[in-house]
């Protein structure tokens, strides 16, 4: 297990923060921890059992909003569709994989039902992935109100069925941890991100998977990742994908300021993209990279999976869910207030003042690595426990406050 790639040089001053990583690994039983989950026909396991209402086109967003108002317990999302020049297959594929998430018991897909609609493709696609989908088309109903009534009626039936499904014991090896950071500050790379990295290494040692994404925020950190690629071919693909984003971003300006380095990052003490990336990459711990996938795509491998996304915070939550994540760990130094609608999103603060200022937002304060006797390793162990408890049904702050953010990337572009 390549779990100690950085921060493990004994005697170096850096060890003040990390503590003994081997301890975290030895704390793992020979048997992976278990949680109570929802096994699916796809072979994946849900940590939630949501009934999702999702539009195939923005034209029926209003219908989904009315359903949400009448059924607050529904997870009803809206979106703005693709953009001219975008990739329509990627759009349909992302909506399909999102609706087929193991955390969704049944997806009610709402569309217009005409020839330009992608409704049938999405419904069929969800079934192909082993999910459950219902099809409701506005043109086949008698008007807007009847469409809403049909969705509500279907929702009530599916929600009643979902409530009857019992959680059953599942292994932590069925967990897929999506990782994300938003609003990084000077502490993110010191505390929250390495804590997620330790948790990720523990999960992978238990047989599970982690998704590390945000390729725009890996520019300048390639040397940390490439030696860990399971094959030369994977490393080449990773390197090419990161480079493509560098060229893409630079096409819009003389440098990356205002794109990848935001004013909040700078106020927080981050100066350059290399610096931001070297902090971001720590969410991936030290494990071997077993696959590189595109935006919202799924891997059949288990281990550390790299996903090609552009770091847009809300769109990336969608990408992680579509890619099969059933728990998300999100680090923030500035206080990014988002949550995935269907995948529990555990939010970490990089500094304790943020956790004190926004207790309704932060589940886990990683800032105590700087202010207490806790080490990155002991915090990583605690985060791993919280991830398993969250999978088991413990609600996150984002869930308690119904933070259900959904967006598709502005370009729907694929690098």
């Amino acid at each position: 297990l390549a779990c100690c790639a950085d921060g493990s040089a004994d005697g170096d001053p850096i060890n003040q923060l990390f503590g003994d990583r081997d301890l975290a690994m030895s704390a793992l039983d020979s048997v992976a921890p278990t949680f109570l989950g929802y096994p699916r026909a796809s072979g994946r396991v849900g940590t939630r059992n949501h009934v999702l209402v999702i539009p195939s086109t923005p034209l029926v967003n209003r219908v989904c909003q009315i359903v949400q108002a009448r059924r607050p317990e529904a997870i009803s999302v809206t979106h703005q569709g693709g953009s001219p020049g975008g990739d329509p297959d990627l759009l349909v594929g992302t909506l399909t994989r999102f609706a087929a998430s193991p955390n969704v018991s049944t997806a009610i897909v709402v569309g217009i039902g005409d020839s330009e609609d992608q409704l049938d493709r999405i419904v069929d696609g969800v079934h192909d992935l082993g999910g459950n989908a219902r099809r409701i088309a506005l043109l086949e109903e008698r008007g807007l109100e009847q469409t809403v009534l049909s969705i509500v009626e279907q929702f009530d039936l599916d929600q009643a069925a979902a409530r009857l499904q019992a959680r059953v014991p599942c292994s932590a090896s069925d967990l897929v941890l999506g990782t994300e950071c938003g609003g990084s500050d000077g502490y993110s790379g010191l505390t929250a991100n390495p804590v997620i990295g330790v948790c990720s290494d523990m999960l992978i040692a238990s047989g599970g998977s982690t998704i590390l994404a945000e390729f725009t925020e890996l520019i300048g950190a390639e040397h940390v990742l490439l030696p860990r690629a399971a094959s030369r071919e994977l490393g080449d693909r990773l390197s090419a994908a990161i480079h493509a984003w560098e060229e893409f971003a630079l096409a819009f300006g003389e440098d990356l300021s205002g794109q990848n380095i935001m004013p909040g990052n700078v106020a927080g003490g981050i100066t350059t993209i290399e610096e931001k990336s070297l902090g971001c990459v720590r969410k991936g711990g030290g494990s071997t990279i077993v696959d590189v996938v595109g935006f919202g795509e799924r891997s059949s491998e288990r281990g550390l999976i790299l996903m090609d996304t552009d770091g847009d915070d809300v769109a990336q939550l969608v990408a992680l869910a579509s890619g099969g994540a059933n728990v998300i760990a999100f680090s923030t130094g500035r206080g990014t207030p988002v949550g995935c609608p269907i995948v529990p999103t555990v939010k970490l603060s990089s500094n304790s003042p943020l956790a004190a200022r926004m207790p309704h937002l932060i589940d886990f304060d990683a800032g105590t690595a700087l202010s207490s006797n806790e080490t990155i390793t002991s915090l990583g162990e605690r985060l791993f426990e919280m991830v398993v408890e969250t999978a088991n049904g413990r609600p996150t702050k984002a869930e308690l406050h119904a933070q259900r953010d959904f967006a598709l990337p502005p370009t729907m572009a694929s690098a």
């Binding site: 950085d6 040089a9 170096d12 001053p13 850096i14 003040q16 923060l17 500050d185 000077g186 502490y187 790379g189 010191l190 520019i219 300048g220 950190a221 040397h223 940390v224 560098e246 971003a249 630079l250 003389e254 440098d255 990356l256 300021s257 990848n260 380095i261 700078v266 927080g268 003490g269 100066t271 350059t272 993209i273 290399e274 610096e275 070297l278 902090g279 130094g333 500094n351 700087l370």
Partner: protein, 104 residues
Amino acid sequence: VIPSSVCRLILLDAADSVAVTTRLLRAGDVAVTADGHEFVATTRVPSGHKLALRDHVVGEAVIKYGAPIGVASAVIGRGEHVHSHNLVTVRGRKAALRSGTGGV
């Protein structure tokens, strides 16, 4: 044991030329690394920002996490705040700007 009045500096790699402050430093304040090396801040350095552990000439790589995070765009003295005013990215600039160091 470091007195609580003294600012701890976080060094991420033994090769680093900057360290991260754990509270606001004003010029003249003393900060210390875990292995006991003392640094006097020569400028104001906000909490979570970078303090130079050594002098840098213009064009010299600034090292954090054991890797270059850019180059000095101005002379940086030991104890100085390192940020946008004296550090510039290498990767996040168009190729024409990457050669040389003065083109900031």
